[in-house]
């Protein structure tokens, strides 16, 4: 705990634990929000930190950034002790809390950036270069002089991300960055974050969106009831929990249940078999192969593929661990 030596890792947590005293009726009890988290994240990694609501994600982020003091264990973020070295750490970390704005709601976006540049002691040249870069990449040009409170959700989120990245932090922590965004905004944001990664920025993001995880993260940490339930890549996660995708097909005419297909399992049928849901494991087959197998038996009019749900993935991990 006393060592502030930079061992090279961006995040190094060892037995990180946080308990809260909560009131339960009249009695007080101890709730363990994060329980013995040991993890090491290297520079340049892009890590998805997923778990159900209340699993301990926010508590972990607060301990990583020096907002909360751990009850036990230790953590170094960017080689610094988050609580003791909070002010030095703030210069190296950028955090986007989806629900808590860093911007001044009554000020134009441009003015918020100017204040943040002063807060992070950027020189005038650094400020104008970096602002111009972020404005271009996040397409903020159209609303720089609009007060923050008048922005749409998508615009505000882009402005928030620019605000958190203005001082070019080594580590960027994003808490539900794509929540509530439309498909196009999500896509743009993911492209931007992919670009940031190429600069060597380390990303840690919490999300409920499997699309975020698939497109942005090469490593996934699953936290459940405060404990690390999984640490690995996405294919490995699918193998571990057998998370299946679902192919939904709309057929030209009613059909009996499509059982016995190679690599797919019939889940349910609607409207006398006009719509059928088929589960398949993305590790073993592809949506195209399943579709081909269905097409041999019936004419397909329309189809959708449903991604595994994060809550479901977490539930399966939990069930598997018991």
């Amino acid at each position: 705990m006393t060592s502030a030596v930079n061992s090279g890792a961006i995040i190094e947590a060892d037995g990180l634990t946080r308990e809260f005293r909560v009131r339960d009726g009249k009695r007080r009890r101890l709730l363990t929000a994060v329980d013995g988290l040991t993890v090491r994240i290297e520079p340049g990694e892009s890590v998805g930190y997923i778990g159900a609501n209340g699993a301990g994600k926010s508590t972990t982020i607060k301990m990583l950034t020096g907002i909360l003091v751990p009850t036990a264990g230790s953590v170094l973020t960017c080689g610094l002790r988050p609580v003791q070295d909070r002010r030095r750490l703030a210069r190296q970390v950028g955090v986007v809390f989806g629900q808590r704005s860093q911007l001044w709601w009554d000020l134009p976006v441009r003015e918020s950036f100017r204040i943040l540049a002063a807060i992070h002691a950027l020189t005038r040249a650094e400020e104008s270069d970096r602002t111009a870069e972020l404005v271009e990449q996040l397409e903020l040009g159209g609303f720089l002089s609009v007060p923050v409170r008048q922005l749409s959700l998508g615009q505000r989120m882009r402005a928030e991300i620019a605000a958190a990245l203005l001082h070019s932090p080594r580590l960027v922590i994003l808490d539900e960055p794509t929540i509530g965004l439309d498909v196009l905004s999500k896509q743009r944001l993911r492209e931007f974050l992919t670009g940031e990664r190429r600069r060597g920025t380390t990303l840690l993001l919490t999300t409920h969106d499997m699309g975020d995880v698939e497109r942005l993260c090469d490593r996934i940490l699953v936290i459940d009831h405060g404990r690390l339930a999984y640490d690995g890549d996405l294919p490995g996660l699918s193998r571990t929990v057998g998370a299946e995708r679902v192919l939904v097909v709309d057929l030209a005419e009613p059909m009996p249940d499509l059982t016995g297909l190679d690599g797919a399992r019939h889940l349910s049928s609607e409207a006398d078999g006009l719509r059928q849901r088929l589960a398949f494991n993305a590790e073993q087959t592809t949506a195209a192969k399943v579709l081909a197998a269905v097409s041999d038996q019936a004419e397909v009019l329309d189809l959708t593929v449903e991604e595994p749900d994060i809550e479901d993935v977490v539930r399966r991990i939990y069930a598997a661990g018991r």
Partner: protein, 283 residues
Amino acid sequence: MASAGAPVTGAAETAGLRERLRPYRAVLASRARSQRAYRTSFALDLGSSALVGVVELAEVWVLFSNVTALGGMRFNQILLVFGLADLAFSLADLSFGHLDNLPDFLRAGTLDVFYLRPQPILLQLITSDLSLRRLARAAVGAAALGIGLATSGVSWGPRTMVLLALGLVSGYATFAALFVWAAGLQFFLLDGAEMTNAFVYGGRYAASQPASVWSRPLKLIFGFFFPMAFTAYLPAVTMLGLPGPDWLPAWLGWCTPAAAVWSWLMGLLCWRWGLRHYQGGGG
């Protein structure tokens, strides 16, 4: 928030200080701009703030239309006390009063945002806003102080000037510390703003009264623990050459800086304690 008494060792030092103050200047300047941006609303704010000051002054006047002296002081002398207290409090309220909003930050979780910036939390909070409308109230206080000084029989000289300057600066600091103290307690109370307001605004009210009429428990609480008597009454008594009441001798009028230091010690201790509680680090 300038660091008082920093030795001037050259341009580099000044530039360093300017750079350190840059974040605070940037926020405060934008707050001031945004308040003045809506002129009508700002004018109304100023008007209502002035009205509150005038009503409180009228309260003192009404009291004195029924009695000739209170606690050994005549109306003009009370004006001196009222003016000192109100001017110092209004200026403290202008620059520290928004610490009252801490419970909102705590409920919305927005205090966390301050942790992500490389400045001390308390300094960020203090400089996060500026209530310019309080200037109107400060003007009422200044007017009362001016009239009090001119008509209460204060003998002018360096002694009075020093007492006045010490009293105003220390009074401002003492009230400011009271806001910090109250903010520190909000971490524990959450819905306790009313309780702490009783001390902050009750303290302001007590400060504008002659402490000679207080009962002994009140003298202990607002004379020493929250040293309200030091913000106005004691400097006024010393300036006027009046004898102080029991427990509050007139020479204490020279000790106003000590009261300010004591208030800040208590305020910062309370703040630190609250912040630790928030972070859950014990203490």
